[in-house]
């Protein structure tokens, strides 16, 4: 990469990304009177990272852990957020309908795909300090920007509705009425954002997200057949057979449980809001890898927890969220089923927080209004209105009698995966844009992996389409 020109006032007109500190640039010093609350909070976070780097340099790996602890968040949150209610429902359906087999390694493959894609958003956010929606509008114009924002907003709203269905269903296992369950969840979403600080929001949400691990004890109580798990991982068998369109739907839904457009927008915006810089990219990768591994383990645990339903011939074809927990009581006990139901509730609540935040970030980026969790309500009220408003609208829809909830629950992951190829194409164009990325642009192998994921998703979608329109071609 050529050395950037020394920053001057005119450099801002060109908006070239720079790794030069503001205090060393003439233009930066002209902004002294314009510093916002957001800048101050971000500077405080940067100070903690810089201090941890300096004080930790003598303790080697322990110092590195402290820096990682400070910089982790967006990656863990995006993957544990994506282990949401519809995703855990998909994994549960995989285990209940097909047992231990193809879906165990397939879920790992989908998470590998997820990591490849999300790592690119870390670099984009850390280098450009701009959110995904903002970059699409800037680089490709309003026309394409509106398309991708429409896809995002539609997908986010449907997913939010599915999260509240999961929250309602998870708590119904404990006899909690729908209104109280959904209202309580909304209060929790509100409580988390009242902190007015990205760091606090991130840590509280991560604290909630770790309860996604409740699926692990539920799986252990199901006494998994570990040799069968090993065999499935090694051979990808037994393959899912039977009703081909339904199987295609389940495969697509499982992909959609890991690779979705909101994840791209959310992680990039969160990286920007956290104030990450190019020198933090390695830590951002580790954060994303940690999130990937945790989410894959928890997802496989959900599959293993529901395998007893497969072995006992329970027809789970039409099961909804809480029905899995109720059906599992005879085999994993009331405690195991309660953990499973709580896991569903947790999956819904963390995703509701992350997805509503993703919508608010995108809105702010597109319309140029303040969009940071470091901003107080009076400075960024449109951001908070969108965040809370989208959550409230989804929650209310769940409580409306005769609302098409089953339709939404069935389609949300599928729609997500079908909307992914255009989103990935924009991502690949952006991350290969050397004017933006400089030396952090994609390498050949990163492009190879990114293009492979895009082609796989398009093929999965086409396979689903063929299986649906011409089921006899596939023997369905």
């Amino acid at each position: 990469m050529a050395a950037p020109e020394k920053t001057s006032t005119s450099a801002y007109q060109a908006a070239q990304p720079t790794t030069e500190l503001a205090s060393r640039s003439a233009a930066g010093r002209q902004l002294i009177g314009l510093l916002t609350h957001e800048d101050l909070d971000r500077a405080r976070d940067r100070w903690r990272v810089a201090r941890a780097r300096w004080t930790g340099r003598s303790w080697k790996s322990l110092g590195g852990l402290r820096v990682l602890w400070l910089l982790m968040g967006p990656g863990v949150l995006v993957f544990l957020g994506e282990n949401d209610a519809p995703s855990m429902l998909s994994y549960s359906a995989d285990g209940a309908r097909y047992g231990i087999g193809f879906f165990v390694p397939f879920v790992i493959l989908t998470f590998v795909m997820g990591f490849i894609v999300q790592e690119m958003t870390v670099r984009l956010g850390a280098v450009t300090h701009r959110g995904h929606a903002e970059l699409i509008f800037d680089r490709f114009g309003k026309f394409w920007g509106m398309f991708s924002t429409f896809d995002l907003m539609l997908g986010n709203f449907l997913t939010l509705v599915a999260e509240f269905i999961g929250i309602r269903a998870g708590l119904s296992f404990f006899g909690i009425r729908p209104g109280i369950a959904v209202g309580g969840a909304l209060v929790l979403v509100l409580a988390v954002i009242t902190t007015g600080r990205y760091w606090t929001w991130e840590r509280i949400t991560m604290g909630l997200a770790i309860f996604n691990g409740l699926f692990i004890p539920a799986a252990l109580l199901a006494h998994p057949d570990w040799p069968a798990v090993g065999h499935a991982l090694a051979t990808w068998t037994p393959l899912p057979l039977g009703d081909r369109p339904q199987t295609a739907l389940l495969i697509l839904s499982t992909v959609g449980a890991t690779v979705t457009p909101w994840m791209l927008f959310f992680q990039q915006s969160a990286v920007v809001d956290k104030g990450m810089q190019p020198r933090d990219i390695s830590a951002g990768r580790l954060d994303t890898l940690l999130g990937t591994v945790l989410a894959a383990v928890f997802g496989i645990a959900a599959i293993l927890a529901t395998v007893p339903l497969f072995h006992h011939g329970i027809n789970a074809a039409d099961f909804e969220y809480a029905q899995f927990a109720q059906a599992l009581v005879p085999w994993i006990g009331h405690i195991g089923a309660a953990l499973f139901a709580l896991g569903m509730f947790e999956a819904g609540i963390v995703a509701a927080i992350a997805i509503s935040t993703s919508s608010a970030y995108a809105f702010g980026e597109v319309f140029g209004t303040a969009h940071s969790l470091n901003r107080p309500l009076r400075e960024a009220w449109p951001f908070y209105v969108i965040l809370v408003g989208s959550a409230c609208a989804a929650a209310l829809l769940v409580l409306v009698p005769h609302a098409p909830l089953e339709f939404i629950a069935l389609t949300v992951n599928v729609i997500a995966v079908l909307a992914m190829p255009p989103a990935l194409f924009f991502l690949l164009l952006l991350v290969n844009d050397r004017e933006l990325m400089g030396e952090h642009a994609n390498t050949f192998w990163q492009n190879f992996a990114g293009v492979a994921v895009t082609i796989l998703l398009v093929c999965a979608g086409l396979g689903f389409g063929i299986a649906t329109v011409y089921p006899r071609i596939l023997g369905g």
Partner: protein, 92 residues
């Protein structure tokens, strides 16, 4: 300044920044210079508000791919609706 020397200067600047941060128990964020010394030049909100990245030129191939993917999404959405309606009405 060549690219290698520029990178070295940045690394040195990063080390200076870390050392400065370690020297103070708490940053004095009332001092704008301290805030600016911790943020990158294009990370300051006011700088981002003043400028946007410009449009990039799109080749015919890129535009064709964009339109193809858009058509793909619309067609697939229709198929999803058909599939779900079938499932809801038990038509498999």
């Amino acid at each position: 300044m060549n690219a290698g020397r520029y990178k070295d200067s940045l690394k040195n600047a990063d080390r200076e920044l870390d050392a400065d941060a370690a020297a103070s128990a708490r940053p004095d964020l009332k001092d704008p210079n301290v805030v600016l010394s911790l943020l990158e030049a294009d990370q300051v909100v006011a700088a981002k508000q003043q400028t946007r990245f410009g449009r990039r030129s799109l080749s015919f191939g890129v535009r064709l791919a964009m339109w193809s993917l858009r058509v793909y999404v619309i067609v697939m959405f229709v198929i999803v609706v058909i599939s779900v309606l079938r499932a809801l009405h038990g038509g498999g």
